[in-house]
Subunit: 294 residues, 2 copies
């Protein structure tokens, strides 16, 4: 039994095939070009396998409301060739498979809850800190879904009094993503994050912002586990800084032992390493095959 | 078939009895004194009825985790006589009824989703702006529950640049509750909110803060309906100010028609008026009787 998955990102598409144990048997990476070009390669790849289904964890914003006329579309992304693009219909028309479709971060949260750092829990939050900042949540055992998918990366946080950087979000300027994404770090410090590892001030400021956001997520959602991934989180020294700042901001307000006593196990890196997204996509496909909602 | 409910607040306890249609047949109000004094009156009241169950929508923080040793306790409230008080056990021991127990705001959210302004929806957020600020949410048709109940009133928001008031939260000073609760309004302006109706600056500032919080809730939870109640919201002129500020902060980021085109029906007063809390308590009791989780 083979399941396909796509981690559809703004710079690259990862396509993979897994068995029923979610063991990845084959994987390729394609650059994100014009939709027709990229998708023709995607289709060519998946045609080589006898798949039961396909799952897509997609960059957003996307329409995941099955009742909507534009279900399965990438909607108002700044990547213009992909704006209002019916990615699900296009793949369904040629591959003729059940297709699971959700955001990249929701897929990753699902994978972490099923097989990763939040295994066995009916609740977790997956946050990515990369080119953008986004998060997906599992609540009561299902992907959190309301009016639309969450957009947690764009919350407003308080600026650090020493930070004069204007912010990089085209919609809100200095929202969380505007102040703390990879490109924001690069523009503020004039250097890519990967080359700033030894500059402590960079990561103190970064953790100041991420901790504020995480406190909002805790107070509003109360997730049972918080998983932080994405390119920027390769700077492993940020984890302890974030944990410390979270406790400081909460100021003993929540007397929950999981947070107060065991924060090292509460705010963690992905249990599936860099594979949360693609495994999540495969799980979305499996759920579509089994005709289950997530 | 009669169900009992208690809306247990920091200043008053409302006790009511309803039929299976949740029609309130009888209701009393008691001051919140020492636990033993107040509860003996509560018990005396409910003993007069042949109830199937009792539900409690309680001020917090409380322990609602059935697996916990302190399940059914009011935990670290600043109201000292009630701190670590086993309210559920005390009532169960004397009344011997199935007891539903949750936060006051979760009860109100449940009532609004079942019978009020969010009727028919599987998702809503109920926010109270009163002596404190708190919120409860329905997600996927159930009361949102993770590691603990949410504490949405204590999120950090950005100060208005003209506001020098220090804030009233004993834990965080100038969190949302610290800046925008009824007592914060009173201390900042030197006058009770009820007497400030004609002072436009008061409500502009209030809506500036509440809108910021609501935007966080939308981006993180994406509720299908937002219901605003509590004493401060008796100032009806705040609703349009809040709606306007929410749209301004979102800055067209979410292209959801329910928000962009119909915000008047998205952010609304309670459909059940001042009865959301007590009807919610009765619903909690009914769920306990039917042995359903919420
Ligand atoms: N080791 C690193 N340290 C700090 N920042 C990094 C590191 N590696 C990548 N980044 C930053 O992370 C961002 C890319 O995030 P990533 O999660 O890899 O991709 P994407 O978000 O596009 O899917 C870039 O802004 C990059 O500068
Ligand atoms: N009409 C009003 N206008 C403004 N503020 C009010 C009004 N009525 C009550 N309040 C304020 O609301 C708070 C009480 O909120 P309420 O929801 O009635 O009770 P509680 O939160 O204690 O359950 C007080 O701070 C009070 O000053
Ligand atoms: Zn933004
Ligand atoms: Zn606070």
């Amino acid at each position: 039994m083979l399941y396909g998955g796509i981690e559809a990102g703004g710079t690259k598409f990862i396509c993979a095939v897994a068995d029923e144990n979610k063991k990845i048997l084959d994987k390729i990476q394609l650059p994100t070009l014009e939709p027709e070009i990229t998708l023709s390669k995607v289709i060519e790849y998946f045609r080589k396998f006898k798949l039961k289904s396909l799952g897509i964890g997609c960059f957003g914003p996307i329409d995941i409301n099955p009742a909507s006329k534009t279900f399965g579309f990438i909607t108002n992304t700044p990547k213009l060739p992909w704006r209002n693009y019916p990615i699900v219909n296009k793949l369904k028309a040629t591959l003729n498979l059940p297709i699971g479709f959700n955001t990249d971060v929701n897929a990753a949260a699902l994978a972490e809850a099923c097989l990763g750092g939040a295994k066995g829990l009916d609740s977790c939050l997956y946050i990515t800190v990369g080119t953008g900042i986004g998060a997906g949540a599992i609540v009561h055992g299902k992907i959190l879904q309301g009016l639309c998918h969450p957009e947690m990366g764009h919350i407003l946080i308080r600026r650090h009094e020493m930070d004069n950087y204007k912010g990089k979000c085209p919609y809100h300027q200095d929202c969380l993503e505007g102040l703390a994404s990879g490109p924001a770090i690069e523009e503020r410090w004039g250097e890519k994050g990967v080359n700033l590892g030894s500059n402590e001030g960079v990561w103190e400021l970064e953790s100041f912002y991420l901790a504020q956001a995480i406190v909002q997520y805790i107070l509003i959602l109360s997730p049972k586990k918080i998983i932080l991934g994405g390119g920027v989180m390769r700077q492993k020294q940020i984890y302890p800084l974030i944990r410390m700042n979270v406790l400081k901001i909460l100021n003993n307000y929540l007397s929950v032992p999981e947070i107060i006593e065991q924060i090292d196990q509460y705010i963690i890196p992905p249990g599936l390493g860099e594979n949360s997204g693609i495994i999540g996509a495969i799980l979305l496909g499996e759920l579509a095959y089994k005709n289950k909602s997530f």
